[in-house]
């Protein structure tokens, strides 16, 4: 028996650990450091219909136990990304494609096309990017809009659809309920909180985009709370993320209700973090008395 295995819609994962979208590019830099087939899956960088240049620099800033980013969905567009996916096929992993857009049509166009790529296991629909002017987060703050988008994407996608929720809402349960009703196969959460820093000398916002998305350990308690709430509200599985740094953190996310986890910012601090956590997970299961990973899902309730 593989103690770490997890079965999710579209995703037969040998372990529940994957890099989070936007924090791993398309894997090329990390493939120089370790064998990507060690991973459960990979959430690739957000893909849009057309290539996107993203925001001006500075795009990143540090905050206490966290960071801000305003990358702005820079990506080479769906055409080029299909090439990257081809390369990733060599690692025999179900890949999760992070889909972004500025209109229903954009989202559906990319979703339909990318779902057809064989090594794509599931789609993650980014309705929560705080760093683009239109689209992105507006979809992530209105339950009715999110539900309608989910339905449209489900209609065109040949692969399971996970909706990525934004924490910048008053009521995360409503959002989760809405995407479940829209037919989502799963939920990924949380995207970044919105935050800001100032350049003290220049007397202006540190990021060129002014505001950015807050990630890293600072947001971990917020992620845990929202996953806890969503787990009690919907029946579809949750892939949890937000500040994970250790194998014990992974287990804490399972307690809250996650069925798998993604690791974002910590890849920047320690590029080997994903395989290291995968290696440590069995020890942590032993330590806290779990036979297998799935036994820990939601035990904190």
């Amino acid at each position: 028996m593989n103690r770490l295995a997890v079965e999710l819609p579209g995703l037969s994962l040998k372990n529940p650990v994957m890099p989070a979208s936007g924090c791993f590019g398309f894997g090329r830099e990390f493939a120089e450091l370790y064998d990507l087939s060690l991973l459960g899956s990979i959430m690739i960088k957000a893909v849009t219909r057309e290539p996107r240049l993203g925001n001006p620099v500075p795009r990143v800033a540090e905050t206490p136990s966290g960071m801000l980013n305003a990358i702005g969905l820079q990506n080479p567009g769906i055409d080029k990304v299909e090439g990257e996916l081809n390369w990733l096929a060599g690692f025999h992993l179900p890949i999760i494609a992070n889909v972004a857009g500025y209109s229903d049509e954009d989202y559906c166009y990319v979703a339909e096309r990318i779902a057809k790529v064989p090594n794509i296991g599931a789609l993650e629909i980014n309705i929560s990017c705080p760093n683009v002017k239109q689209g992105g987060i507006t979809y992530g703050q209105d339950p009715a809009v999110a539900k309608a988008l989910t339905q449209k994407i489900k209609a065109v996608s040949s692969k399971p659809v996970y909706m990525k929720l934004s924490p910048n809402v008053a009521n995360i349960k409503e959002m989760a309920k809405a995407v479940e009703e829209g037919g989502a196969d799963g939920i990924t959460m949380i995207n970044t909180l919105i935050g800001m820093r100032f350049d003290m000398k220049k007397r202006k916002p540190l990021l060129a985009n002014k505001t950015g998305g807050l990630s890293g350990p600072a947001i971990k308690p917020v992620a845990l709370k929202m996953i806890y709430d969503v787990y009690e509200t919907v029946k579809i599985p949750i892939i949890g993320m937000g500040g994970i740094q250790t194998a014990e953190d992974v287990l804490e996310f399972f307690y809250a209700g996650a069925s798998a986890v993604a690791i974002g910012t910590e890849n920047f601090v320690n590029p080997w973090i994903c395989p290291q956590i995968i290696e440590e997970l069995p020890k942590v299961l032993d330590q806290y008395g779990f036979e297998k990973m799935t036994d820990a899902i939601g035990v904190g309730h």
Binding site: L33, V60, N69, V269
Partner: protein, 253 residues
């Protein structure tokens, strides 16, 4: 690229807010470290999440040491400045592309400004071994900020400028270069964005040359797309595709 603990062998103040640190690199294959590449340092306090990119000032293969020179700018470098010999820092490196060394170059100009001065020294040492004639033009804020002049003098002629004129010539290194006729076929430079732009505009199309850029980084390994620079061939990552770019490559609009 490797990640390892390095032991601090020396951490000495050498100018105002400026420190030289020697790090023991027993576990590292230093042959992979070339002038112009950098290491990414984990501050020994986990609230300071991101690593700090610092260029290599000197690579001492025999002693298995690397040296850096850093300026205290914020809290991370301040914490570094308080560390003592014997303590350890976690580093990731080597990162970035480094300065390409041209086989046919006979004379070079090293143009450094502020915290851009350090990476030029190791480069200069390697060029000196090849018998290249080296002229260094180094710019600082004021007399109290000046450092490493003696070291650069071992490489060849050195011109120094300070903004307030309290040491060397008054002004920027661009002022020196506008006044002084310096013979060189290849330019290597690192320093503030404005200086690099001025050099690029002055020499592109006329000389061979390489500029090392700085940008705020999160990962330093090309994964986050935080550190972009606009080039004539599109957006590039300073950390992975750079930090060194050829004259004329970067686009400044």
């Amino acid at each position: 690229m490797q990640q390892c603990q390095m032991q601090i062998v020396e951490n000495m103040r050498i100018a105002r807010d400026t420190y030289r640190m020697s790090l023991r690199a027993n576990e590292l294959d230093l042959s992979l470290f070339t002038p112009g590449c950098f290491i990414n340092i984990k501050i020994d306090d986990s609230a300071y999440l991101l690593r700090r990119p610092i260029s290599l000032y000197e690579i001492d293969l025999a002693a298995k040491l690397v040296r850096i020179i850093y300026k205290v700018l914020g809290k991370g470098t301040e914490l570094m400045s308080k560390m003592a010999a014997g303590e350890e820092l976690n580093i990731l490196g080597p990162l970035g592309s480094g300065f390409p060394i041209q086989n046919d170059s006979q004379s070079v100009l090293l143009a450094g400004g502020g915290v851009g001065v350090p990476p030029l020294y190791e480069l200069g040492k390697r060029l000196q071994e090849r018998g290249v004639t080296i002229t260094s033009v180094l710019g600082f804020q004021d007399a109290d900020s000046v450092y490493a002049i003696k070291e650069f003098e071992t490489l060849g002629q050195v011109f120094v400028s300070t903004i307030d004129g309290s040491f060397g010539q008054k002004g920027t290194i661009i002022d020196i270069l506008n006044k002084q006729e310096i013979e060189f076929d290849t330019l290597y430079s690192c320093g503030p964005a404005g200086m690099l732009k001025a050099l690029d505009e002055k020499y592109q199309g006329k000389k061979e040359g390489y500029l090392s850029f700085e940008e705020r980084m999160a990962c330093g390994i090309g994964a986050c797309y935080g550190c972009m620079v606009n080039t004539k061939a599109g957006l590039k990552r300073v950390c992975k595709d750079g930090p060194v770019f050829a004259l004329g490559e970067v686009s400044y609009e």
